[in-house]
Point group: C2
Amino acid sequence: METNVTDKKIAYGPEVDLQDCPNVYAPQNVKPFTPPPTGIDNLGISSTDTFSVPGLGEATVDFKGWVRVARSKPTEDTWENAEVYTNLIEMYMRGESEAFGPIIVTLQPEILSTGMIRNPRVSEGHDTRAKACRMAVAAQFELPKLGLRLFNREPIELTIDNVKSIPPAGSPGKGQIYFVLPLFSRSDPDGKPAAYLTSLKFQMGTYLTPGEMQSPKQ
Amino acid sequence: METNVTDKKIAYGPEVDLQDCPNVYAPQNVKPFTPPPTGIDNLGISSTDTFSVPGLGEATVDFKGWVRVARSKPTEDTWENAEVYTNLIEMYMRGESEAFGPIIVTLQPEILSTGMIRNPRVSEGHDTRAKACRMAVAAQFELPKLGLRLFNREPIELTIDNVKSIPPAGSPGKGQIYFVLPLFSRSDPDGKPAAYLTSLKFQMGTYLTPGEMQSPKQ
């Protein structure tokens, strides 16, 4: 689980300083409406994604796994004014499709996936005091049965509304996809899209123990 | 108007071969439901964008200008099956805000803005035979009055539905923004967002003549 976010080719937003950014594992008592000190959250995640592969059709796949999210020091001490910047520094999810076989989701090593927790504008219709969370993700999808390793070139934008605690453990979220997000093949990275992500709904899990954060050898 | 799309640091999708890709200027007679030969479309564009600058407030600005869009050879000869890949190789738009002064929009030179015209799935609800157009754009926004040069790190996704001709001249389109798209400052590129793009509606114009494609010296 060594993580090095330097030497990334590009970043979608600000980099979180990992110096003095301690790992946070289960068990934790997350206080609502309270900006937490900086840390790396080790959390469960589940997601239901729909893929469309030209010539092969569509499949909706349930994934389970974990994420490691580095959180910045909040910009202010008070919940009302605080913004927090995040980096998704590691991810592992596994799912299985009858048609496509197993699918393993990890991060693209050369891109820094970033996000933020901010105050929504009134027009966004959140509950009082709740914040909005967004994260731009560069993922890769291994489909060993099809011999495919897919990746996105435009970030997958994950959003969580009505955030009342940091991290928003247990909250549902959505991938903001306008019908299709092109996925490309590592074996033909400059070619046409090899597949599309057409829908993504996820649920942040709670804190995990170090023992629950293992990924099987691939 | 020299354009060189090589040596880009990243591309959001496939690069269109500009060899043997002739410029297409006004006047043109665009045939509906007909895949055109490859070419660089020189088109007018107008857009209404809303910006939010922390500490300064919001402004909605009307822009006018032009784009140059390189189109690939269609993947098939028939309209029904053809897909076309696009690169936005040049853009110039100008608008003016009372609060923020003039705003000039161009492309980020180090990123290749790309798109495609594809067959929508039935669930997208398009008119019969119509196609869907999407383009991921890396823009920069000059605000000389504020001494700001802003740029996006996540692409701005421009979409046009119900595309019945290529190019979709005269069609309305939308920037698919989930409430906010962070914009960063060239003077602090790795810092926090300096502004947000919160709404974008555009209209593709028709073909222009070479004389109409000039941009004022900045």
